[in-house]
């Protein structure tokens, strides 16, 4: 048969590769900056865009979507063409994908520091950007499926399955999570409220880890590891089982982020069971990766690419064992809200994602420039800097998490809490310092890589279009009836549908009942919608990213009830669009903050947290004292909330600002009594109104029995 000559497009891989390096380094610098702020708050520069609450979303978004995202795209565009023996379907679509994605990143880098956010972790980007992501994702999908359809290779190699599952599931996750009601060009409220919003959020959040940080990277592992080791994967059978069980089980595990919260118990248990089951496919994948190197460990000693891969795969195994363990309720009771979780995600982020991204860059760049790596020694140094960096990052965070949790839970013999919150923070400050040293080493390693790759590029000559040959695919006459799986495995569109059905089943079962059964979310008669001023204050709370350090969810533990007050009930959050339960307590829980301190305490505390609580790590929020509250948005916000089902009276939007001013004047009056002169239209007034409202609804309710009615 006549072989066809064609060319692989290396230019698009180069573009995504460069973007990986640039945004990786930016994301790491932002992360380091945020990490230093935790023990040295002044480095926030008292400048709103660079405070922790705004940098942290910038860091997570940059690392997830810009660094790992671009690395995955680079690896996918490189491997997909070669696995399909075909050039990408359309160069034009490739470039629309590339520039579209980079514009989204730039838009994120501008909007997040400006405080434009949805307030949902890893889904912070505002609604116009959400729409752009959807469009670019569709372009990527058409390009990928177009390539697969015009392929010259009969079988779809397992890496491609992982890419397909990634595409399908991320599309589903992104759309469901982003259903929101805009009230302005940049602002919107989540369609869901309270417990439902939390469930959707962690179904999304957990599966963003699964299908943006894990499945594409596993696909890369299944391609680049055999390439680098020059031997096929240990067991292809295992890789098939790995694939199907992973994509099915992952989708259910989200609720393990909400253990002991006000989430219904059945959903929590479902999350735990599936999380434990996840160990099997994850470890199947890890062992498949490591066993691929059996008999080739001598190569690992010499080849820095394999070194990076071995540590990456090991970190994958470690964090996928740790994840299920953390989802056991007993372990979770200790780990949740602490730095333990930060350690856990960084084993995955720095070890698995980062190291695999470095490995494929070290592999692809010399190949595409037709040369060898400039310096193996520098690459090995990078490997050690990175590895020591990970250890110095993770170990102190495990320690800090464990220590702080035990401190929180410690009681004296007399039955009093042994430590106040500030003491538990001060005890672990040193750990934060060591963590940032670890992060610095990791960053230096990445810079060393950049230099090494730059020198490699300088000595090689870029092969923009790489020549290849293969016979075209001919339609075979099927004499025997084939196994159905082989049919699926060869047909990408059917593969797409089957994966979608599998992940959709998990998603639906998990989410539908919460929407469905009224008794799942008992409403409480005394819980009332926010006043217009409180609503504005809440939006400031979201804008400043307070949820990155403060939870609003008191779990039913003795220490939490003693420290913060009555544990949180699902019915308290029915008007929270979006929910603000948070996931980390760098500062104390705020679920029952309302009424704990006078208004003047909050005013002074926002101006300088350390004046009210010495040793506090919180940044100063001086601009809240000067900024004028924009009340022109109030009617639109009230209308949006009403559309979402919050029971404001009819036509309330027209008079909302009158109530707002009244409440603001009364808070300004309170402050005046404490000798603080402030205009009643300052943003701080709205924030104080919100903070003073937190958790008060059920306090004002008549005691016993709580009237539980249905909404």
């Amino acid at each position: 048969m006549q072989v066809e000559k064609f060319y692989y497009d290396n230019k698009i891989v180069k573009a995504f590769g460069y973007a990986t390096i640039i945004f990786g380094i930016v994301g790491m610098i932002v992360g380091l900056w945020a990490a230093i702020q935790i023990y040295y708050p002044a480095i926030s520069l008292n400048f709103a865009p660079t405070t922790f609450g705004r940098l942290r979303p910038l860091h997570t978004n940059a690392i997830i979507f810009a660094f790992v995202g671009n690395a995955s795209f680079a690896g996918i565009y490189y491997s997909l063409q070669r696995l399909c023996k075909a050039r990408m379907f359309s160069d034009k679509l490739s470039w629309i994908h590339f520039w579209g994605w980079q514009l989204i990143i730039v838009a994120a880098a501008i909007t997040l520091p400006l405080g434009l956010t949805n307030g949902a972790e890893y889904a912070e980007l505002i609604w116009p950007i959400d729409i752009a992501i959807t469009l670019v994702w569709v372009v990527f999908g058409i390009n990928m499926f177009g390539t697969i359809i015009k392929r010259r290779e009969k079988h779809l190699y397992v890496a491609i399955w992982f890419y397909i599952a990634t595409w399908v599931t991320v599309a589903l996750l992104h759309i469901v999570r982003s259903i929101e009601l805009p009230y302005s060009l940049t602002g919107s409220y989540s369609w869901y409220a309270g417990v439902q919003d939390a469930l959707v959020q962690w179904w999304y959040g957990h599966n963003a880890v699964a299908f943006f940080l894990t499945t594409p990277v596993l696909g890369l592992m299944y391609y680049f590891l055999p390439k680098a080791a020059n031997r096929p994967v240990y067991s292809y059978r295992l890789s098939i089982i790995h694939f199907w069980s992973l994509i099915f089980l992952y989708i259910w595990a989200g609720p393990h982020h909400l253990l002991y919260t006000a989430l219904p118990d059945w959903a929590q248990s479902l999350g735990v069971v599936f999380s434990i089951m996840l160990i099997a496919p994850s470890w199947g994948g890890m062992l498949n990766g490591l066993f691929t190197l059996r008999g080739a460990w001598d190569k690992v000693r010499e080849d820095p690419i394999l070194k990076f891969m071995v540590v990456a795969i090991t970190c994958y195994g470690m964090s996928t064992l740790e994840g299920p363990l953390l989802s056991l309720k007993g372990v979770n009771a200790i780990a949740h809200y602490t730095d333990w979780i930060i350690a856990h995600v960084h084993i995955g982020g720095l070890g698995w994602n980062g190291f695999l991204a470095f490995a494929i860059l070290y592999y692809m760049i010399p190949k595409m420039w037709g040369t060898d790596l400039y310096s193996k020694k520098l690459a090995t140094n990078h490997f050690w800097l990175g590895t020591i960096g990970i250890i110095l990052y993770a170990v102190p965070m495990y320690w800090a998490g464990f220590e702080q949790s035990l401190n929180w839970k410690a009681f004296t013999a007399e039955g009093q809490l042994k430590f106040d919150f500030m003491e538990t923070v001060n005890n672990i400050k040193g750990m934060y310092v060591i963590r940032s040293i670890g992060g610095t080493l990791y960053l230096i390693g990445a810079l060393v890589m950049t230099y090494n790759l730059y020198k490699t590029i300088a000595k090689g000559k870029f092969i923009a279009n790489e020549e290849a040959e293969a016979a075209p695919l001919v339609k075979e006459a099927h004499e025997k009836k084939e196994y159905w799986h082989r049919v699926i495995e060869r047909k990408p569109v059917m593969m797409l549908v089957v994966s979608l059905v599998l992940v959709a089943i998990g998603g639906l079962i998990e989410i539908i009942p919460t929407f469905l059964v009224k008794s799942n979310i008992p409403t409480i008669a005394s819980v009332k919608p926010y006043t217009p001023l409180e609503l504005q204050g809440r939006d400031i709370y979201v804008r400043e990213g307070c949820y990155t350090c403060h939870s609003q969810m008191i779990r039913p533990f003795r220490d939490e009830v003693v420290r913060y007050g009555e544990y949180s009930k699902a019915g308290e959050f029915i008007y929270d669009h979006p929910f603000q339960w948070g996931s980390k307590r760098t500062g104390p829980d705020l679920a029952r903050e309302g009424g704990k301190y006078p208004d003047s305490w909050h005013y002074n505390h926002m101006y300088d947290p350390r004046s009210m609580s010495p040793g506090s790590l919180m940044p100063q929020y001086v601009w809240l004292l000067d900024n004028k509250l924009d009340i022109s948005t109030t009617p639109a916000k009230i209308r949006a909330m009403k559309t979402l089902g919050v029971p404001y009276p009819d036509d309330y939007d027209k008079i909302a600002n009158r109530d707002l001013m009244q409440q603001a004047d009364s808070i300004a009056g309170n402050l005046k009594k404490d000798k603080i002169e402030t205009a009643s239209n300052a943003e701080i007034i709205a924030l104080i109104a919100y903070l003073q409202r937190l958790g008060r609804d059920i306090k004002s309710a008549p005691k016993q029995p709580l009237a539980e009615t249905t909404k």
Partner: protein, 53 residues
């Protein structure tokens, strides 16, 4: 307008869960049967795809 009002109108929605689980178990069993019945030669051939380019 709340989401909750849409889904609660689906009648007999409880059976969805059962159907889903059945689909999964059947699919998974079929996958395992296929995986272990496929000839080693085919699998080896597929697993060599990355190395052939």
């Amino acid at each position: 307008m709340k989401f909750i009002h849409y889904i609660e109108k689906i009648s007999g929605v409880g059976v969805y869960g059962l159907i889903s689980l059945t689909i999964f178990v059947l699919f998974f069993t079929a996958m395992l049967i296929w995986v272990f019945k496929t000839k080693k030669k085919t699998l080896t051939e597929i697993s060599r795809i990355p190395l052939d380019n």
